[in-house]
């Protein structure tokens, strides 16, 4: 009899410090585990509890899963302070993930905010793996300060790729930062995409997603072409525990990626 709430065991193999508050946890599952980009997992710290995270690694790599986590709460802070080689639990994958097939042949604008670049890294790596299928990938990323930028080494590497265009900004500049300063919406003015065949994918804090969505609509993106990563309190990941309801949907099973078209008539989606 299958126990749908049972996590599989994974060893915490490595911890990579990305920023003062964000670390990437490299997990090696003890049983085969696969996910599609954009799907999420419930990561368990046995005896403490679990929390939902979208992996940040390439789904084509099966033996390991990276999860990039900001230290904000009880479980994340214990994870940040834990040593390697402990056993964690993984349940999932849950949700629908990104519909990559519907992006074929298109200009893909990806807008990330802060640690929101974590799931987007998984998406980018999936897109890079089949780059011929897409017309163009445009990444616009905003972090609070230069020290809050995640995947610092990867960003310039991605920018060098053919058909890939990367621009980064920080909300607050400092002496060491020579790039753009301003909210991520300020680098969306002249995005080099053809609106007739473009989609936009947004992941970041709710307030950032709200203003990016408004900006994208302003630029002429249509609601069905704007993909948003929604978040709410979640427990089961299976559409049973009731927590993540948004309108007629559960974020865990119907999302976590939704088009703005699906959400536009629902109250309080940005809360």
């Amino acid at each position: 009899m299958k126990n749908i709430y049972r996590p599989i065991e994974a060893t915490l193999e490595d911890v990579i410090t990305e920023t003062p508050t964000i670390k990437t946890f490299v997990l090696r599952p003890k049983e085969p585990f696969e996910f599609k980009t954009g799907q999420f997992i419930e990561l368990t710290l046995p005896g403490v509890g679990e929390a939902p995270f979208t992996p940040s690694s390439d789904p084509n790599i099966k033996a390991k899963i990276d999860v990039t986590i900001m230290n904000v709460g009880k479980i994340t802070s214990l994870l940040h302070n834990s040593s390697t080689n402990i056993s964690l639990g993984i349940r999932g994958p849950y949700g629908k993930g990104y519909p990559l097939e519907s992006f074929f042949g298109k200009d893909i604008l990806i807008v990330g905010g802060g640690v929101g670049l974590a799931p987007l890294r998984s998406l980018l790596l999936s897109l890079f793996a089949q780059i011929d299928r897409y017309n163009k990938i445009v990444l616009r990323y905003g972090a609070r300060t230069s020290s809050d930028i995640v995947f610092k080494d990867a960003l310039p590497e991605w920018a060098k790729k053919d058909k890939v265009d990367v621009v980064t900004t920080v909300d607050l500049g400092d002496a060491s930062w020579r790039g753009n300063v301003g909210l991520v919406t300020t680098i969306l003015k002249d995005v080099p995409v053809d609106l007739k065949k473009a989609v936009a994918i947004v992941c970041g804090p709710p307030i950032m997603m709200k203003f990016v969505t408004l900006k994208l609509l302003d630029l002429g993106f249509q609601p069905p072409d704007i993909y948003l990563s929604m978040e709410k309190s979640m427990s089961c990941g299976l559409g049973k525990c009731g927590h993540c309801r948004i309108g007629k949907y559960y974020i865990c099973k119907d999302g976590p990626v939704f088009t703005y078209e699906q959400l536009r008539d629902i109250y309080d989606i940005w809360d």
């Binding site: 368990t44 056993s87 525990c241």
Partner: protein, 342 residues
């Protein structure tokens, strides 16, 4: 086997309560004229339940799991409300196999209502006070015995097995049962008519259009956030998966297998932390938002997803509420404050 037992009312003016007890024990079993205090869900998803040990394979506890239960005294509202539980745990992306096993191993012997509590309002949701489907056997009291209606293959097997207790019902007996039912429906209708309750088909529109009304603030004034309304509700299903650290174990994530447990606990959307996320953000921070969320779930979400509102009119939430928040009155207030054309 579980069956209702009567609880003495605390005062002469109060209605008697009935509770499910393990049958053939000390408490005398009775025919409950109306629903019990506890919701039917408590047999299938207990309030607190251990789901697993980390990281051990599931124990072969089939002996306990295969335990067969018979529940007497289930009412029409319970059966209708329980459809929501079935939808949650038996459908969707994954089936909860523990729930399914309990469901398969439980014989539901329902019975017609022959009385009602003040809070009963099944008819408002087009639910009759006797079940038509969803039972294994339904009992209708008649003269000195009962008319038994078989509603499933398991019910049929049961009747076959104990056929010395049954004889085929005759036409006049069935007619007498139907007459009795009609009379009772009429009695309940008379009780409900002056209440002027909102109609089932208007309720989704009411909660959606009433989203920004002050009804939510006004009714929430007396809420003490006990969660009783959710926990006692036949349709509420929210739960929380929580971990219990075993005192003997070392630090979290330690190597000693089986040290920690995962539990499932009933949750309540009226609790302050129901929707809180890591870092402290809480989309249901205000109490009124939480009451509204409860109504949106029952009367908007479930109408969209299941085709029916998630309320069976059992009135348990009304009875349990220390703040005297009455689901009927909340809906009536929304109706009153919505545009006069409706």
């Amino acid at each position: 086997m579980f069956a209702p037992a009567a609880k003495e009312p605390l005062g002469a003016a109060l209605e008697a309560d009935y509770c499910f007890v393990r049958a053939l024990g000390d408490a005398p079993l009775v025919y409950n004229p109306y629903r019990t205090v506890e919701p039917l869900k408590s047999f299938f998803t207990p309030a607190q339940e251990k789901l697993l040990d980390y990281f051990l394979p599931d124990k072969d506890s089939n002996a306990k799991q295969a335990e067969k239960n018979v529940i007497f005294g289930v009412k029409s509202c319970d059966i209708t409300g329980h459809k929501v539980q079935d939808y949650v745990f038996l459908e969707g992306v994954e089936v909860d196999s523990q729930y399914r096993l309990r469901r398969e191993n439980t014989l539901i012997i329902s019975s017609d209502c022959t009385g009602f509590k003040e809070v009963c309002h099944c008819l408002a949701w087009d639910i009759l006070p006797h079940p038509a489907v969803g039972f294994d056997i339904n009992l209708s009291p008649l003269n000195d015995g009962y008319l038994a209606e078989v509603g499933s293959a398991a019910g049929e097997d049961f009747v076959q097995k104990y056929d010395e207790y049954f004889s085929r019902a005759k036409e006049p007996q069935i007619n007498a049962r139907n007459k009795k039912r009609e009379n009772f429906i009429e009695q309940l209708r008379k009780h409900l008519l002056p209440q002027n309750l909102v109609r089932k088909d208007s309720v989704q529109k009411l909660v959606k259009e009433g989203y920004n009304l002050n009804t939510w603030q006004e009714f929430m004034l007396t809420c003490v956030e006990c969660g009783g309304c959710n926990l006692i509700c036949d349709t509420c299903h929210c739960f929380l998966l929580a971990d219990r650290a075993m005192p003997s174990s070392q630090k979290p994530g330690g190597k000693e297998n089986g040290a920690h447990e995962k539990l499932r606990l009933w949750d309540s959307c009226l609790y302050a932390n129901y929707a809180r996320v890591a870092g402290g953000a809480n989309p249901l921070k205000m109490r009124a938002q939480r009451l509204r969320n409860r109504f949106m779930k029952k009367f908007d979400f479930f109408v969209d997803n299941l085709g029916v509102p998630a309320c069976c009119g059992c009135g348990r939430c009304i009875e349990v509420c220390p703040g005297k928040i009455d689901i009927r009155e909340v809906l009536k207030d929304l109706a009153k404050k919505s545009s006069p054309h409706k």
